[in-house]
Symmetry: C2
DNA sequence: CGCCCGTAACGAACTTGTTCGTAGCGAACG
DNA sequence: CGTTCGCTACGAACAAGTTCGTTACGGGCG
């Protein structure tokens, strides 16, 4: 021990590092991502940005997934919650908020995938929940259904964003889509009659239309489907 | 160059390797996964099983995601499509098929996550699509809605399986869930009245009940929501 | 019969996430 | 004022995915 050739420079002599913190790390992460894309946002790159080693970051974030979740919540701040206070049909305003959410995710396919897996719990996410609950409530949806419904609505929006955004971005995803289309088209009408008959319909429509249709499916379904444990829902 | 110390053993002298192929690789992958779990199914482990190097596998599978997709389709063979031919309410039979699908995914959280991202196109997946389309058709759902509907139904089932299965398995996911619960409970009724009021409802119910409710929400919604491009749907 | 080339297979290397053990700082305590 | 303790920071190491350049196999051509 001792006599290591390394010189243990006192940290005071360094050009005043801002000291690590969860917030600082998240801010730096957002900056790197905006500047170079999510792929470049690695632990090592981020550590370099903060003039430290990768291991140091793990004191403040559990792993990359959590880092991504933090970054995502930051971005969720730009979701437009205006429609909550606006006038007009509650259903349309609800869809507008969800569309805004989807649009934000759409910008960052990787984050959308994270959100599918990670389960956000940040400040902006809570505000989004509150907004959706308020709109459902305004629409007369019983509390019990609304509580379960927001989950389904957000899950649908998130999953759709993850799917479509990455299809546009990654060449891989496009290939997979092509493979599926080819597989469905190549199916025999003898063994798979419905699939053969609907092969065009399955892939028809623009992404936006399908997304919107999905929102309406869910809202209509939520309004009309009672929870099993409470036929009258409270 | 030349005079490399390595001895280029003729491949004929080896104990008759079965020669690589996409099918062989998938089969070996399934075997490893069943025996040791998905986490242990790494490219290196799989290569070792097939007595080769990791790089060799990339001739047959694009990457780990595709490997997982292949494995998943293999497992989808065990989804119970019996309810398609059975008698009884079409809606209940539809839900039974979807539940069987979810149950299979539930066994392998990692694969469920893959399925969310990758977009399967294997043989068994196509049969599942055919089964769902047949049931929707039997229920009198217009073709256009059915085509878009299967996507949404499977997406919901997959996402739910991925979420809940990993919550049961990984300690991480449980922590995230706890974090969200804590965040919601800790919210001020002043700023987030709906959230505070419904904090219990949000997390209530057993997973199975929520899943079933979701299926019914979707089926009801699909039945009653016309596609934007065709008010009458064909 | 001998050479040649396309392709499967491979070993090594590079990148990234994550963990381990250690070292120094600063606060609390005697 | 000196010692000790907890905790942050960090370098190094390990495992895994993926790519690159090279090597041998085996069939076709001269």
């Amino acid at each position: 021990m001792t006599a290591r050739p390394r010189t243990p420079i006192s940290r005071r002599e360094r050009p005043a590092k801002p000291a690590l913190s969860r917030e600082g790390i998240t801010a730096a992460a957002v900056a790197v991502m905006q500047a170079e894309g999510l792929e470049k946002l690695t632990m090592r790159r981020l550590a370099q940005e903060l003039d430290t080693g990768p291991a140091s970051l793990y004191v403040y974030v559990r792993n990359t997934a959590e880092l991504h979740a933090n970054v995502l919540d930051e971005l969720l701040g730009s979701v437009d919650l205006g429609p909550v206070q606006a006038v007009g049909d509650w259903r349309e305003r609800l869809v507008r908020v969800l569309s805004s959410y989807t649009a934000v995710l759409f910008e960052h396919p990787g984050l959308a995938r994270s959100a599918l897996v990670s389960r956000p719990s940040g400040k902006h996410y809570l505000e989004l929940l509150e907004a959706l609950l308020a709109l459902l409530s305004e629409g007369g949806v019983p509390d019990g259904r609304a509580a379960w419904g927001v989950d389904v609505l957000l899950q649908f929006a998130t999953a759709t964003a993850a799917e479509q955004a990455s299809r546009d971005a990654a060449p891989d995803a496009q290939d997979e889509q092509d493979a599926l289309v080819a597989a469905v088209r190549g199916v025999s009408p003898q063994t798979h009659p419905r699939l053969a008959a609907l092969s065009d319909e399955l892939f028809s429509g623009m992404a936006e239309d399908r997304l919107n249709w999905g929102f309406h499916v869910l809202v209509n379904g939520i309004r009309q489907t009672g929870r099993p444990d409470a036929p009258e829902d409270h």
